[in-house]
Each structure stands twice: as structure tokens, then as C-alpha cells.
């Protein structure tokens, strides 16, 4: 692969100073009950040919609104540009009528969205959707359109492009869909490509591939890229220049080196400090030697039946979890990492008795029934769960105080007054105040909601808390504070955590011991130092190497490109996957052979 040997840092591509897009004094406002509320205020920037400009900021900072304003796709009629102008070359886009704007959209400026799963029309084939993008702008004979479409798919390095044309989006994986989105966006070789969180919804190894692809395409076509992201690692690896936004305003602008080396503004400093970094984990902690275990998982397998045919016979099994064993000691944080579909969440669900399983699960010295759903009440008391989406896991019609008290009510603990006392204590403990107890979930921010979920999980004084991607949906600064809180609670109450995440950097920061899962099996497990310091299994190495490094001076080693997609865990009946054998390479460090 010649592309892999290319200089990696985006800054190395010295941009010719040919301005393609400029934004001056842009103000975007939303019409609300009390007049116009600005979402973006007085934003000015420009971007040149071949340059990558990152717009970084946390949710609500106005970065996505800015990109939609450039595309002329602000949701009408409530949100619109109320000041300033956007110029594409000589053309003032903000003055164009909608019919004129359509000619530029997709042709001169294109956009890639965050959610590849929902950004493609589910009932049109890939071919139809790509063809449509071309035909919207160019009047070409059918044959030529077909050729151009194939060329675009080849450019994004999709396997079997001819077959993909006839496929529907649901037949493609997330990474492949995002490639199709990119193919659609670059098919007409636009001057400006806006990528709005293009890799946020993707697994880390897939993210790596998509980022590489974007960079290679840029080098080839000279497209100016506006990269919108909250991930400072991605910023450091991709951008030439950075704009940091906060509540609709630009707080800082500069070269990527300048911003990372000497952030001028307090907000930027906080943002950078909050970014979880690999190699910085576990400075002060020393996990005590494990004596008693709160959870022993022995030879756990979970498989789901796929039925097909007229009589619904079981034809395939999805081997979600396959012969997995691990123990969690009292007071330790055990992390399971892996990419989507590796079975990590199924392990969590099994441990709270929600999924039937094979094997043995002992929690706090009590065996769990295999059929699921009939877990004894005492077990439910010992194990609590915190989920990924705090909004979705809080009943919107209940007051948050009642939500936190509910586990106590269910288990019949304490009088009403004692419960109120306990709720107040928990609120204070997770950093919320007494006067927030009577409010409803929608009145809180994402981070506060997750604190409420944590308070609820603490209510029963459990021995083990399972945190399934509990910080993935939070902004980095909020994420850092929630991680600190979890750490403090662990030390204070001696609770053990099972921490499930796809984010290697977060895991490295919080875990005592780690297990890496791949296709339903553990391929490597050991202490944090062992797994991250001396990774043995190739998959572990690939995961670690794929993590974006928030340091522009970091030179990525020449990588061996991973080959294709993760295979499916669905197999025909009787064709069970082989259980991997783990070999001990050093004390407590086990690796698949």
C-alpha cells in the first residue's frame, strides 16, 4: 500500500493559500417565544484549497449549526441566518435563492453526517442513491453515470463495488455505510467537504480507516475539509488549523500545533486537560491483592437462535458470548473492551439476570439461575447497572428524587423519612444539591443525568456496579468529572465496578484489570499495565494503535492495514466457533494462542 507510507500529519500538506470558502460575522438564530435567540454569534473563518480546518467544541457549542448554515440546510422556519455572510469563492451563498443553492449543494460543497446508520435511505439501493447524487448535477448518459459511480466506490476502497450497487443500506456495516456516504460526497469532486463527526459512531479500528481514507482523498483531490468533532485526538491527527467553539462563539483559533502546545484560553485548556490519554492511566492507584471475589464468571456462553423457514426451525446461532471466564475482586474495576458486536454488553445483561445463559455465574457468593429473569431479589440488590444513555434510562414522568428512591421502595428498605434522608445524602454525594430532588429529568444536563443514574445505582449499597458505556455519550469535560466521581465512590464505598467500554483511553484511565473481547471471546486479559504496557494479542495491539492521539507532533508508525470486516458471530447449527485457549504469559496476564 503506497498510501500507508505517506507522511501522516495533515500539516505536512502545505496548503496553497487559495481561499475557497469564507464565513464572515455569521449569526444564526432560532425563533423562540422570547424573540430571536442566537445559536451562533459573529463567527468568522476561512478555509483554503487542500486545507483541513477542525471546528472543535462540546455539544451545544454551535458547530453543527454552523455546518448546516454553510450547506443552507438549517431546519426551516425556526432557525435561520440572521447576520453575516458565507462566500464560496465569489458566490455569496447566503444571498442565493433555494433553487440556486441546490446547484451548489452536493456539487461544490458536500457533507458527510455523523450517523451512517440513518443517513442513507433504507429503501433505495446504494447504486440508486449514488446515481441520484450525480444526476442531480450533471446530465450524463447512463453508462457514464454507472462508470462514475463505480469509480467513486472504488475510491473509498469498498470491497466488491459492483455488488454493493445492488445492495440496500441495511446489508452493509456501519463502516461501509460511512464509506458510501463519503463516496457520495466526493463523487462530484467538491471544493469543500464538511464532515460532521464523521467517525463518532464508528468503532475505533473503523474510525482509523475512515480517517486515513479522508486524508488520502484530500491529498488526491485537493478538497478543503471542514472537520467538525468533539474528539481532540481526531483534531490533532487530521487538522491544519483549529477553531474552538463554546456556546455559539469562537473562543480560540490557531494552528493545530499552537493550540495543542500553548492553548491561550481557559476553556481550551480545560478541554485539552479533560481528554483521556493513553499512557497516563493509573498514576496514583495500586489495586490491592484480590482476596474475595464479588463476581465469578465461569465458562459463560450465550447464544441466540435464528429461526428460518416455514416452521421456524433454528437454523443458525448467534454466538454472542462463547466460553468466557473472569473474576471480579471486591473493590476493583474490571473493564471489558471491544468493538460493537463483540458481546460485551451481553455479558453485562447476563450478569443481572436478563439473558438465559450456559455456564456458571456467582455473584456475591450466590449462583445465578440459568434461565434469566428469575434472579433472586437479593442479587438484584447486590448488582446495579448504569446505562449509556442517561435520558433514556430515567422515566421522564418521575421526579428524580423518586427515581433515586425507587430501588429502596422496591426492596422495602427504610421508612419514607429514612428514604428521603438517604436520597438527600446520595444527591450530595454525587455532586447534586438538595433543591434539585423535586425536578424532572429533562431539566438536567447530560452529565447531571448520569450523576442521577449513579445515585440511583448507589441507593441499595451494591457490591458491584455494572457500567455499560456509561460515559460514552458525555462531552469530554463532563466525562472526566464523571470518571473522577466513579473513582472516588469506588474508594469510599469499596464497590467493585464492571466497566464496559469501546474507548481504550477511558479504560486505560479507570481500570485495574482489563479483558479484551473479540467475537464473543476474551482474547487477552490481565492488569492494566500488562494489557496496555505489553499487549500480546494482535487484536489488542490493533485496538490500542487505532486510538487517535491528542498530540499533533505524534508520528503514527507505518501501519499494516487491517483486512476487511469483523466476521459475523452468526453460524449454522452444529458449526460452533472454536473456543480459544488462553495461555499465561506472566502472572495474571492471559493471551489467546
Amino acid at each position: 500500500m503506497k498510501l500507508a507510507e505517506k507522511e501522516i500529519s495533515g500539516a505536512a500538506l502545505a496548503p496553497e493559500r487559495k481561499e475557497v470558502l469564507s464565513v464572515q460575522d455569521l449569526t444564526v438564530s432560532v425563533r423562540s417565544a422570547n424573540g430571536l435567540t442566537p445559536l451562533v454569534s459573529n463567527l468568522s473563518f476561512s478555509i483554503s484549497k487542500g486545507e483541513t480546518l477542525a471546528i472543535a467544541g462540546e455539544s451545544g457549542s454551535g458547530k453543527s449549526i454552523t455546518s448546516l448554515a454553510i450547506m443552507g440546510l438549517l431546519p426551516p422556519p425556526a432557525v435561520r441566518v440572521t447576520g453575516g455572510k458565507i462566500n464560496l469563492g465569489e458566490v455569496e451563498l447566503t444571498k442565493l435563492p433555494e433553487a440556486e443553492m441546490q446547484r451548489y449543494r452536493g456539487d461544490r460543497i458536500a457533507m458527510i453526517f455523523q450517523e451512517p446508520m440513518t443517513s442513507l435511505n433504507p429503501i433505495m439501493t446504494i447504486g440508486q442513491q449514488l446515481t441520484e447524487a450525480l444526476e442531480a448535477h450533471e446530465d450524463l448518459p447512463r453508462k457514464e453515470v454507472q462508470a462514475r459511480v463505480l469509480e467513486a466506490l472504488r475510491a473509498v476502497r469498498i470491497s466488491e463495488p459492483e455488488r454493493r450497487l445492488r445492495q440496500y443500506p441495511h446489508e452493509l456495516s456501519g463502516g461501509m455505510r460511512q464509506r458510501v456516504m463519503i463516496a457520495m460526497a466526493i463523487a462530484l469532486k467538491p471544493d469543500v467537504l464538511i464532515a460532521d463527526e464523521p467517525t463518532t459512531a464508528l468503532d475505533v479500528t473503523v474510525q482509523r480507516e475512515v480517517l486515513n481514507l479522508l486524508r488520502d482523498l484530500q491529498a488526491e483531490l485537493g478538497t478543503a475539509i471542514i472537520l467538525i468533532t468533539h474528539d481532540m485526538g481526531v483534531v490533532a491527527e487530521m487538522a491544519d488549523r483549529v477553531i474552538v467553539m463554546q456556546s455559539g462563539r469562537m473562543v480560540e483559533e490557531g494552528s493545530v500545533d499552537g493550540i495543542f502546545r500553548a492553548p491561550g484560553r481557559r476553556y481550551t485548556q480545560d478541554l485539552l486537560a479533560a481528554v483521556p490519554r493513553m499512557g497516563k492511566g493509573g498514576h496514583k492507584r495500586q489495586s490491592k491483592p484480590a482476596e474475595d471475589f464479588v463476581a465469578c464468571i465461569d465458562d459463560l456462553s450465550v447464544r441466540f437462535d435464528i429461526r428460518s423457514g416455514l416452521f421456524g426451525r433454528v437454523s443458525h446461532h448467534v454466538h454472542a458470548v462463547h466460553h468466557v471466564s473472569f473474576d471480579i475482586a471486591a473493590g476493583e474495576t474490571f473493564a471489558i473492551v471491544g468493538e460493537s458486536g463483540c458481546g460485551k454488553s451481553t455479558v453485562a445483561k447476563t450478569m443481572v439476570g436478563l439473558v438465559p445463559f450456559q455456564g456458571d455465574i456467582d455473584i456475591a457468593g450466590c449462583a445465578l439461575g440459568r434461565e434469566g429473569r428469575d434472579a433472586p431479589k437479593s442479587l438484584r440488590r447486590d448488582v446495579q447497572m448504569i446505562f449509556q444513555d442517561p435520558m433514556a434510562s430515567l422515566d421522564p414522568r418521575m421526579k428524580v428524587g423518586d427515581l433515586v428512591a425507587e430501588p429502596l421502595v422496591i426492596h422495602g428498605i427504610g421508612s419514607a423519612q429514612e428514604r428521603a434522608e438517604r436520597v438527600r445524602y446520595l444527591f450530595n454525594r454525587v455532586g447534586l444539591s438538595d433543591d434539585q430532588i423535586d425536578r424532572y429529568p429533562h431539566e438536567f444536563s447530560g452529565g447531571q443525568r448520569q450523576r442521577i443514574c449513579i445515585a440511583r445505582s448507589l441507593a441499595l449499597q451494591p457490591k458491584l456496579i455494572i457500567a455499560d458505556e456509561s460515559v460514552s455519550a458525555l462531552d469530554v469535560t463532563v466525562q472526566a468529572r464523571v470518571l473522577d466521581l466513579l473513582q472516588a465512590l469506588k474508594e469510599e464505598f469499596g464497590i467493585a465496578f464492571l466497566f464496559i467500554s469501546h474507548d481504550m483511553a477511558v479504560v486505560e484511565n479507570i481500570a485495574d484489570r482489563v479483558a479484551v473481547m473479540y467475537l464473543g471471546q476474551i482474547v487477552e486479559t490481565g492488569s492494566r499495565a500488562q494489557v496496555f504496557g505489553a499487549p500480546q494479542h494482535p487484536y489488542t495491539r490493533r485496538l490500542i494503535e487505532a486510538v487517535p492521539v491528542p498530540d499533533p507532533s505524534f508520528k503514527r508508525p507505518v501501519e499494516v492495514r487491517p483486512s476487511g470486516e469483523v466476521p459475523s458471530p452468526m453460524r449454522a447449527v452444529g458449526d460452533a466457533p472454536k473456543a480459544v485457549k488462553l495461555r499465561e504469559v506472566s502472572a495474571g496476564h492471559l493471551v489467546a494462542q
Binding site: 450517523e115 443517513s119 435511505n121 433504507p122 429503501i123 441520484e132 447524487a133 442531480a136 457520495m184
Partner: protein
């Protein structure tokens, strides 16, 4: 796709079996023995017993069912006790008239309901949207016998634009006469469906227009007309088709009232008469036919789903 069709076809067999059981039971659960009814209250116990034996009513139910179902499958639905004619040809003649009425009502409902729904969604919050939805709400709330009689009073009696009853003029007529006769009952019958469809189409379209892939289409530079008619409508039509399938059943049922109000010579009108006259073979045949056609309409709706949404074909 073909595999899916066969699977769905196979699934209709138990449903049809269930229907036949219910229809068969209807006759035997109804108070009064058919033999009693035929002979009247003056009959002697022996003659009733003899007739029961001749009709096979003294055999076990299962045996009766099997021989009944066998006859039904051969198209022998018995003789109407009132008309003293074969049931099947009579029902088929009537059913044709009902199908014409239903098709007319459905056409009206789809053209106006779906059309208005799309326009209302495209121009959300406009005057057109508000007025259309107000009329739709009124349409949903209006019972057929009221709109039907009001339509007759205004368009047939007052303005004398359209005929008020029957399918053809007394002297017979051609297709244009048929269409003139069809307008009032079809519009009356289809009005409620049109109103429901308009509301459902509007909300389905609004839901779809907010989706990410519609934004993607716009970002590609696809024209607004194509965004609405290709991207949004085809996705929204999955909801619309569901409602349409249910409306078809409603229209078949609703035709009973409409046909009575407009003296339309269809199955509904006939059923009302047959029930009043306790003409069991006739009622039985009509119910069987209407229920069976409903099953196949549902099958067609399912096939339409699979055609519209590729995700359904393989699951």
C-alpha cells in the same frame, strides 16, 4: 420475494380454517334450529326430527363440519331459503357491485386523502394545512348515514346533479350511467377513509421529512420535488399502506350502511335483508366471502410492504 410470498400464502391456510369454523359455528350457535325455523311453530316433533335427520343435523358436529366444508370448497353454498335460488351466483353478482363501490370509495380516499396529506405536510403550518386538517377532523367525526343522507338531500334532491339510488337507471344503462350512480355512494363511503388517510399521510410524511436520510438527499443537491415524492413519500407509504389495508376492511363493512342508504345492490344490502329474513345460507355465504376477501387484501398489503421496504423481504 417469491419465498416470502409462499410463506405468507401458507400462513393464510390456518386463518381461512379459523374463519370457516366461525362461520359454521354461527349457524349452530344461533338460537333456534334451522329445522324448527323451516317448519314453523305448528310442526310436530316427528316431522322436525325427520327434517333434522334429512338435513344431517343429528350427526356429530365434526362430521357436519367436514361435509359442510367439503361442499363450500366445491362452491356449493346451498340454496337461499328466501329466494329459493343457489346462493353462490347470487352472492357473486352482489359482490361485484360491492367491489365496484369499494373500489370507487378507495380511489376517492387515496387520491384525496394521500394528496391532501402530502400537501399539508409539505406546507406545514400554512393556511392550507390548517383548513385541510380541520376538514379532515370533521370528516372523521361524521357518520356515514348522516353524510349519505345529507349528500342525497343536497346533490340529488335539491341540485338534481346526481341520481340518489341504484346502480343503473331503471331502463338499464352504460358505463357512464354507472359512474354517475357511483359518485355519491363512493364519495360518502370514502369520505371517512379519505380523512383518516389525510391525517395519517401528513403525520407519516412529517416524521419521514425529519429523518437523516432526507437531509442527506437535500445535501446531495436533490431538488425539493424529488425529495418529497421519492425519498419521503416512499418511506411514508409504509405507514400509509398499513392504514389503507385497514380501511379496506372498514370500507367492506361500511358498505352495509352505504348500500342501504343509496339502495346499492351489493352484498351489504343483501346481507341486511338476509339477516332480517333469517336466510342463514345466504348470510353464511356472504360472511365467508367478505372475510376471505379481507384475508387476501391483508396478504396483498403484506406483499406491498415487502415491495416497498427491502428490509422486510428477508426477515
Amino acid at each position: 420475494m417469491r419465498k416470502y410470498l409462499f410463506r405468507r400464502l401458507a400462513q393464510t391456510i390456518p386463518v381461512l380454517f379459523g374463519i370457516s369454523i366461525l362461520v359454521f359455528a354461527m349457524l349452530h350457535l344461533a338460537p333456534g334450529d334451522p329445522a324448527d325455523m323451516l317448519l314453523g311453530s305448528e310442526a310436530t316433533a316427528e316431522s322436525v326430527e325427520k327434517l333434522r335427520h334429512d338435513m344431517g343435523l343429528d350427526r356429530p358436529l365434526a362430521v357436519q363440519y367436514v361435509s359442510w366444508a367439503g361442499r363450500m370448497l366445491q362452491g356449493d353454498m346451498g340454496r337461499s331459503t328466501v329466494l329459493n335460488r343457489q346462493v353462490l351466483p347470487e352472492i357473486i353478482k352482489r359482490f361485484k357491485a360491492t367491489l365496484i363501490l369499494t373500489a370507487g370509495a378507495l380511489t376517492f380516499a387515496v387520491v384525496f386523502g394521500v394528496g391532501i396529506g402530502i400537501l399539508a405536510a409539505t406546507y406545514q403550518h400554512s393556511v392550507f394545512d390548517s383548513v385541510a386538517m380541520l376538514i379532515a377532523l370533521a370528516g372523521v367525526s361524521m357518520p356515514i348515514f348522516f353524510t349519505g343522507i345529507a349528500a342525497i338531500l343536497i346533490f340529488a334532491m335539491d341540485l338534481r346533479w346526481l341520481p340518489s339510488s341504484g346502480m343503473y337507471p331503471a331502463a338499464g344503462g352504460d358505463i357512464f350511467d354507472l359512474l354517475r350512480h357511483l359518485v355519491l355512494p363512493a364519495v360518502t363511503l370514502g369520505a371517512v377513509s379519505a380523512a383518516i388517510l389525510a391525517r395519517m399521510t401528513r403525520s407519516a410524511m412529517l416524521e419521514v421529512i425529519r429523518q437523516d436520510y432526507v437531509r442527506t438527499a437535500r445535501a446531495k443537491g436533490v431538488g425539493e420535488r424529488r425529495v418529497i415524492w421519492v425519498h419521503a413519500l416512499r418511506n411514508a407509504s409504509i405507514t400509509v399502506v398499513t392504514v389503507l389495508g385497514m380501511q379496506f376492511g372498514y370500507l367492506l363493512g361500511g358498505s352495509v350502511i352505504t348500500e342501504t342508504v343509496f339502495s346499492w345492490p351489493g352484498v351489504g344490502q343483501m346481507m341486511v335483508r338476509a339477516i332480517q329474513a333469517r336466510d342463514y345460507p345466504m348470510v353464511q355465504g356472504a360472511v365467508l366471502l367478505v372475510a376471505t376477501s379481507f384475508v387476501f387484501v391483508n396478504l396483498a398489503v403484506d406483499m406491498l410492504y415487502a415491495w416497498l421496504d427491502p428490509r422486510i423481504r428477508y426477515s
